[in-house]
């Protein structure tokens, strides 16, 4: 299927979901649906770097928060009582996306020359440090948090949450389309060679550092864009919950549970896990909910490394297709030495 028809079909499905939620006549479904859609974006974005390229980003929360705090910064700078909400949310999303993209690019430039583990550690540590910065930055509310007064209604959508829901729906559809486009493009092939074997990729002429940076930037931008409308959704933005590991763990768990090698996996993972969490938060508690996500993540990576999509393949297809995104096996070579050169390897 070509990209444009795919995009349109996704839009139609999204439109049907929106219409269905409208007929239920309760804005709760939009509040819950917004969160699920937000996770579709975050897990799809994570998967562009993690699933396609094999580099683990633990900083989803930080990239998301960068988007959210970009919005708070603009809101505090520009919006006054006389002109409330002059900056439309799509513009805020572009700004938030740009900020996240630049931070992703910078982080990537410093750490992506090295092994994936170092990138992973750096992203995890970055989340802690960005939180420190925000906590110390009074302009955006510091540790007290920041209020954003959400308008009650917006024409022609009616209640504001419907508008936010639609925006997130569009972003989710756009993310899926981008992910699918990358997957089938020359870039996607290049990313897959990096995931399979970086040395062989370089030898085949793949500019690995550049492709990793492109993937990090796209992935970071989408996460930032997902974060930008969040202050409007939540109304009161606090640093601690915004930077919490919840986003990071969900953004990793959803693709790994769904399956990392195609755009379908993160979508399935986000829809299933996202909806399940909405139910658990309402019926049990949010701590139990996080415990469940962690437990599911560990169970899936141990028992079903290729996720739900991998399991489905196993049932539906013949044997030689049952591996989706299988990795290089064997420990024949000693672990590569860490050297200051971008590509380093123990002598073979």
């Amino acid at each position: 299927m070509r990209t444009i028809p795919f995009f349109l079909i996704c839009l139609v499905i999204g439109g049907i979901a929106f219409a269905a939620a409208l007929t239920l006549g309760n804005d709760y479904y939009f509040f819950a649906g917004y969160v699920v859609l937000q996770y579709v974006v975050l897990s799809t974005a994570w998967n562009i770097l993690g699933g396609y390229c094999g580099y683990v980003n633990f900083g989803t929360g930080a990239f998301f928060a960068l988007g959210a705090y970009s919005t708070v910064t603009i809101y505090t700078l520009i919006d006054t009582n006389a002109f409330p909400h002059v900056v439309p949310i799509p513009v805020l999303m572009l700004v938030g996306g740009a900020v996240s993209a630049v931070v992703g690019l910078g982080m990537g430039y410093l750490t992506l020359r090295l092994r994936g583990a170092f990138f992973a550690i750096a992203t995890l540590a970055m989340a802690v440090v960005l939180e420190t910065l925000v906590v110390n930055w009074d302009f955006v509310g510091g540790s007290r948090g920041a209020f954003i007064i959400r308008p009650e209604t917006i024409a022609p959508f009616g209640s504001y949450i419907r508008y936010l829901f639609l925006i997130m729906l569009l972003l989710a559809v756009a993310s899926l389309t981008i992910a699918r486009l990358i997957e089938r493009s020359r870039l996607g092939y290049g990313l897959a060679t990096i995931r399979d074997d970086e040395f062989a990729a370089e030898a085949a002429g793949v500019p690995t550092l550049r492709l990793k940076l492109i993937a990090t930037t796209i992935s970071g931008a989408l996460m930032g864009m997902a974060g930008a409308p969040f202050p409007y959704y939540i109304g009161y933005l606090q640093p601690q919950p915004t930077f919490a590991l919840d986003y990071a763990v969900n953004a990793i768990a959803m693709p790994l549970i769904g399956g990392t090698s195609t755009w379908v996996g993160p979508l399935i993972g986000a829809l299933l896990l996202g909806s399940l969490q909405q139910i658990i938060i309402v019926t049990i508690s949010s701590a139990v909910n996080l415990l469940l996500v962690g437990a599911l993540l560990v169970a899936f990576v141990i028992l079903a490394p290729n996720g739900i999509v991998g399991l489905a393949h196993k049932y539906l297809q013949h044997k030689d297709d049952d591996f989706v995104g299988r990795r290089r096996t064997g420990l024949e070579a000693p672990a590569p030495q860490v050297e200051s050169s971008p590509t380093s390897e123990a002598p073979s």
Binding site: R186, Y189, G190, A192, T193, R195, D196, D197, F199, A200, A201, E202, A203, A204, G205, V206, P207, T208, L209, S261, D320, F323, V324, G325, R326, R327, R328, T329, E332, A333, Q337, E339, S341, P342, T343, S344, E345, A346, P347, S348
Partner: protein, 243 residues
Amino acid sequence: MSELLEVDNLGKRFGGFVALENISLSVAAGERLGLIGPNGSGKSTLVNCICGTLRNEQGSVRFDGRQIDRLPAHRRTHLGLARSFQLPRPFVSMSLIENVRIPLLYTVEARGTRHAAEQIEERCHGLLREVGLEAKARRRPSDLTQVEMRKLELARAVAAEPKLLIADEAMAGLTHSEIEDILALLVRLNEQGVTVILIEHIMSAVMSFSRRLVVLVSGRKIADGQPEDVMRDPEVERAYLGQ
């Protein structure tokens, strides 16, 4: 004939271990060079330094008239330097045809030649046919035997349309007739103008292929010249028979 590859006074160490010491080597365009030496003599390290998988600390590498030893590996591949890995490193999540398509997409296109999709497809099939893997074009590397993986490794290196091909032990474990096939392929490439460096333990293959022979022992070059002369060199005899 002009010099295609010039390695000048190259040195590489790992911690306190000197892997290569003062290696100088020039290879002219169109040559068929055999590189031999006992295990651990530094052959693969030399290949890794030439191709950019490792960085040399000392000396320089020039290729096709430019200094390349600060370029990343993929840039060297774009310039026309291709290698196969001693331990095959296929892209395991891709089919064989996709494996050989990567250099076409990333190296051949980077040089400015754009091919239509059908042409690329045709070329990929041709490459697999040359190494006898066309029947398995849609399979994954995990379905291959070690020997077939070596062939795939070679096909992927050839796919980059190199000026200089370095075949790092492409023939280990192959049967006599398979060795003949690979040798014929290498000779054919050489006749089309590709310079070939063959690193090999199978002496009959090296002797029948090479027009010139270089011997490395303990990170140093101890002989360089006509194969027959080199094999009669007392130092080479000592290195090989003395082990």
